[in-house]
Homo-oligomer: 228 residues x 2
DNA sequence: TTAATTTGTTAGTCATAGCTAACTTTTTTA
DNA sequence: TAAAAAAGTTAGCTATGACTAACAAATTAA
């Protein structure tokens, strides 16, 4: 009885909250996750998150002290990772087999990730021959919930003269993803930082013989691997 | 403004109720659908169905008089048929691409049918090259909600000496479907009625050089096309 | 180190979708 | 045709997961 596993007794909402906390925890490992921050992220009121957090603490997925920050138990992390696995496998399926573009997949995957069937997702994984990355460049956890963290930084953190490779993009905004495609950037694109303008932090970049200027906000959503 | 289409504003429950009414209406076209019958079918209380029916009437999907029987409007039928299309396409996908057996698909399809994305289901249809029937032999409505009703009767309605072909099976029970496979019956099997026993209505049948006795209850769930 | 601001909590409300128990209407049977 | 049974309705309750408004604690700034 080492692991009381509560097999799949979670509602869609409970799952989404656990996933959100997980995303916020890995997004910036140094800063702990607060209640209002979570409310912001999920676009619900702080009262709602407070309420749900109580429930998730009672069920043993979340730990926190009163007026303190949030953390996930191993069980909570496990639920979140399984949800992320499902989300990313579905996104991959939609892109690679059903003619979806990378900006169309996220919203549908938000629904599909809540389908409860272990066999479904493991067979989908096998059907696609165990893909390692989703359409936005993010890693896909395997059936045991194991995953490799690819070292990545934002494009905005680089300096003039740096050269990097685009490894992933934030998939939250349809407009952003369309914009990335439109200017000709794609996963694996090699990008050189020509100039970082002090005035508004906009960045002149060069890739595939194209020169573009992108905003700080844009560069915050592009994840890269520094090459030079 | 001929068709006020209320694009997808329905909850999972509302969708399930409309589908259930539709199924009951086609199951036996002669008998109108009652509130308690619907409650039975959905395994909820008559109070619950009564409540939901009110809502669906207010939204223009159901028609009925007080203390009277239920019927669907064109809008209600359209929702039901779209749901059935999704359900059967997903069942087909699970069987043909993800190694599910025909007794494993129904419960997962019950979840998948509620995913809201027109593109998803039409692309899934295209991906499978527009299948006409699901794994249980039931027709799949096309993207316009059109479908052909295959004439079918239950095996239990036949008499000694009749010969028929198995065209579909009721997919509601996992035990039943496993049983069908185990005795060697499959879609398209040619079945001859050797004897109908008066005592308990059990039926001796022959197919593929196999002779079996099946109960009335079993035969009620097997749909056939009379050949001789 | 006090005051302002931010963050977190609580109380009370609403909608959805179940339930039971009691009641009314309709249908069937005697 | 009157009584019994079945079918349908209503009232009132529960749980989930949102919300607002009011309040308390913790943090930051003055
Ligand atoms: Mn996504
Ligand atoms: Mn989700
Ligand atoms: Mn089915
Ligand atoms: Mn369903």
């Amino acid at each position: 009885m080492t692991n009381k596993l509560n097999l799949n007794n979670l509602t869609k909402s409970e799952e989404d909250y656990l996933k959100a906390i997980f995303q916020l925890l890995i997004e910036d490992a140094s800063v702990k996750v607060g209640n209002n921050q979570l409310a912001d992220y999920l676009k619900v009121s702080p009262a709602s998150t407070n309420n749900m957090i109580k429930k998730l603490k009672a069920k043993g997925y979340v730990v926190s002290e009163k007026y303190g920050k949030l953390d996930l138990t191993e069980g909570g992390k496990s639920v979140a990772v399984r949800l992320i696995r499902k989300h990313r496998l579905w996104e991959t399926f939609l892109c690679n087999y059903l003619n979806f573009t990378w900006d169309e997949v996220h919203d549908v995957a938000e629904q599909l990730e809540h389908i409860k069937s272990r066999k479904l997702i493991d067979e989908l994984d096998r059907f696609m021959d165990f893909p390692k990355k989703d359409p936005h460049g993010e890693m896909i956890p395997n059936a045991n919930g194991e995953y490799s963290i690819v070292p990545k930084i934002t494009l905005s953190s680089l300096s003039e003269g740096d050269v990097c490779q685009l490894v992933a993009v934030n998939d939250g905004s349809v407009h952003f993803l369309k914009y990335v495609s439109e200017i000709g950037l794609a996963l694996s694109s090699e990008i050189k930082i020509l100039e970082v303008r002090e005035f508004d932090k906009s960045i002149r970049i060069k890739f595939d013989n194209t020169i573009e200027t992108v905003t700080r906000k844009f560069a915050d959503n592009v994840f890269v691997n520094k090459v030079v």
